[in-house]
Symmetry: D2
Subunit: 300 residues, 4 copies
């Protein structure tokens, strides 16, 4: 039924409602509505087309339009979610003994796809400082942060997972955070929602193709996925307009069905995508730095 | 009826069919289908929502996908159209006595809007060489080319027309060519069609707002408009899908009508807009240089 | 004697010492050493190779290395100098009746030369808001700010002064502020000094070539020049090293003299010029916005 | 003696003259003077401060200023040198069974350092096409090309060698080509010389620090270094001017000596570095693609 409407957001795929094998928890923080979806059975996973695991979305309004203090509050709220998920995934407290590798996925040459590279570009890494100033890590509790922009297959001839695996071997992190641009089903979500999940990255809807997935199995350490929707499938624009107009999908005529399906493989972005991506990258870089800067006994 | 479907292309607004006050001529050149539409009465202008004048579109397939030799042929065909229109508009042969000012309109910070600035960035100007090498112009027949990137109101606080007028005063050109990104009604047109017209630029559908228009009246010399569609109104995606599915606009229910209208003010671009814009700018810059490089007695 | 050492900074050309026709005043503000040099006779102007007028330099240490609070203090100190000079030049208080046009000079494609364009890119203009919200200007006392990036002769075929004159006609400002990259004689000055002056811009050392100057005479309103050194003449590196080593210029052998002169026409920048220019542009844009945001009765 | 004059070019370090353990061969091709220097003993290596191996430099004049046909000839000449060195290093003919990994070293955010990333950005990789079109490789003889932009330590927290090792494990290439910006001793060399060598990359003059070297020992396959000088140590400007003026280094006074040494750690580039780097990257990308596109029986 939702076949016209590809989405990388669990909250748009049926995950927003409690159900068999799906637990939903709502809260608020920093001016964001926060939705935590737990997909707990393989049936539920199949139903919503997303792997089992935990998905958290923060709805914060258009990131580009946030005032400076709103922006700071969203950044804090997001950093808390990131850190808590990181600690749950690794069974270990963030702090001087914690090491994280941030992988900025996507094509830096295509703005709508460049959230990963742009986020990494704005982050301060710390791993190489350990041998220069050991106390920063041991006393203050700074995490070891390293980062990678692996590029895409068409640019490198190499699978992302192969490069991340190499970096994991080099940095021995406790956790990989894979930052990526997402597709949403609804135009209103673009640049207004952040999703993090403990499932890693599963190219192509999480079914099959596991060889190219980015997860604990393929890279050797847990992989958190962090992303913001920047593109929308053109057919979902049509579909959503029809729904809004009261049409029920099952009554769509064969021709309309066909027309919707034909439009499928083509993604669009708002005209101002350049400005959106820049704001989003500042937010994600800031939240990641904050999440992994200090904890242990909270430096005082 | 066409209210859901904003387009800057005369060929999409009813101009593609002969009619009262509208003359259409089709031809082919350099692998492009060329459509020349002449809007010859104010009634016809009102009917298609475009000012009286001559509109030429070249359909050349996706500009980014052209092979090198196809690209060259399109560039040549386009340069011929530009030059012929320039000579008609100015009543004067292109050559050593001809001076053209290229104005790259749009916002250079927003890729989908940056065709004008990107084209200018790739052009070689010549005006300042006249005093260094007068023979280039008098013997060889090189045109005087100057260029301007005026920016947009939100960046400069100045109306484009005011800045172009200043540059016209400085350069005293025979002709202004205003290069700009266009909106098309159909996704298939994006980066596949070039339109030139002798009507200048008319912000907001050519009706009213004449103070901000860029034409002979407001800047003092004839203004040719040259553009390529890079954005599409989101509501037209829906509208077109419905048409393709056999729905007739007049039967749209009130709710659908409303839904389409609500989507109106928001423009989308293909995800790969960065690559499209770069190819388009290379094409336009090349065609402009070729159009205004030599003619008179065709340098031998 | 100073022939090997081109500098756009009055403070490096003999202006740093009191003398016949030269008055010097030193102060401190916001952590900057401030030097005000007044060149008051044509003999003095000839001696230091700079036109008569007032030159203010702020030495603030490497702009890229400033901590956030230091940066803010420098920005404030600079905004005060800009505003005071603006009011002196125009005989008029900054505020709701004041209009300023910022011209970002230089070549945006060459990083070391891009301070002007990069500054303008980061500024918020206000002129176009007056008709939307008149009270902002009349009650609050916001100045009218407009901006222009004229490009360089090789890109446009047009003299900068011609384009600025056009923009002045359009915006009718009280003052033009021309922002530009400067050459300093000493590597230590690069990105550590801001100079403003009430003399406008005089291409090629202020002597001759007055046709291309940017000043009240050529554009019709007073022109403040605002800049930061980002390049240094390669021969000055040699010259300075020799001076530091105790050599006196008059004893330079003929061959050395020749070698120094041969290196003359070639400018160098620090390898990290990209990062320097970005910090400098943020500083200048911030100081300009602050200088021209409110005054009159100081909005309360 | 050469302590003031850091250079990455063997041809500037004494390698340009035959001597004990050093063999020099000169030739010409494609309008370039080609110098092949073989450093054949550890004494010779120590004397010139470069590891044993083979260094080839092509002098082609300012790369940015080459006419289109000159540019093509230089590209061809360079591709021949790259291919011959590759075959010598790997003991294997370039062709359908050959696999090369291009590593674009340096900091993409600092133009003068960005030759590696900019070259990779302009290359077409092929490795991922093998499973789609096996015949391209087996029949036509296309090499497998993959590429990597590892970033620098300050951006990633990871040593370059660690990331290259990971990519080598993923791609199993016969050869790594490491593309990097070089420092030359002489300003005249900037963007006019290409150097390739079979020694890999040795951070900091090739002595010590072998852990971070990029060579067969550290990454597991032979490493060719390919680079073009884009920066010059500021003290060499002074030193060279003095030499040109007839001063002999041994007579330098203590103060001059000191002054020269103080200037040491600071690199400069020509003001137009943006344009230089772009031309250089086009040249290197083109030569690499040509070198590794076909050979075996030379596809016919």
């Amino acid at each position: 039924m939702e076949e016209f409407a590809r989405s990388d957001l669990a909250a748009e795929c049926g995950g927003e409602r409690e159900g068999e094998g799906i637990r939903v928890r709502k809260s608020e923080s920093g001016g964001c509505r926060i939705l935590q979806v737990q997909v707990r059975s393989s049936e539920a996973a199949k139903r919503i087309g997303k792997p089992e695991g935990c998905y958290v979305t923060l709805d914060c309004g258009n990131i580009r339009m946030l005032e400076e203090n709103e922006f700071d509050r969203v950044r804090c709220a997001l950093s808390v979610e990131i850190r808590e998920m990181a600690e749950r995934m690794c069974g270990k407290r963030v702090g001087g003994q914690f090491s994280v590798l941030v992988a900025g996925l996507g094509n830096a040459e295509i703005t709508a796809d460049a959230i990963g590279p742009e986020t990494v570009r704005r982050m301060a890494v710390t791993r190489h400082l350990r041998r220069l100033d050991h106390a920063l890590f041991s006393t203050v509790g700074l995490c070891e942060i390293s980062a990678l922009v692996p590029g895409v297959l068409g640019q490198t001839g190499l699978e992302t997972v192969e490069l991340v695996r190499g970096a994991v071997k080099a940095a021995s992190p406790d956790l990989v955070v894979a930052v990526d641009a997402l597709a949403s089903r609804s135009v209103e979500r673009l640049a207004t929602t952040v999703q993090l999940s403990d499932t890693g990255i599963h190219p192509g809807s999480g079914i099959g193709n596991s060889r190219k997935a980015l997860n604990a199995e393929t890279v050797g350490v847990p992989v958190m996925a962090l992303g913001v929707p920047t593109v929308v499938d053109s057919s979902t624009l049509v579909y959503d307009a029809l729904r809004r107009a009261g049409y029920e999908p099952q009554y769509f005529s064969g021709e309309l069905h066909q027309a919707l399906k034909e439009g499928k493989n083509f993604f669009v972005s708002p005209k101002e995508i350049d400005l959106l991506v820049s704001s989003v990258a500042v937010l994600l870089a800031g939240a990641l730095e904050k999440a992994f800067t200090v904890r242990d006994g909270e430096f005082s």
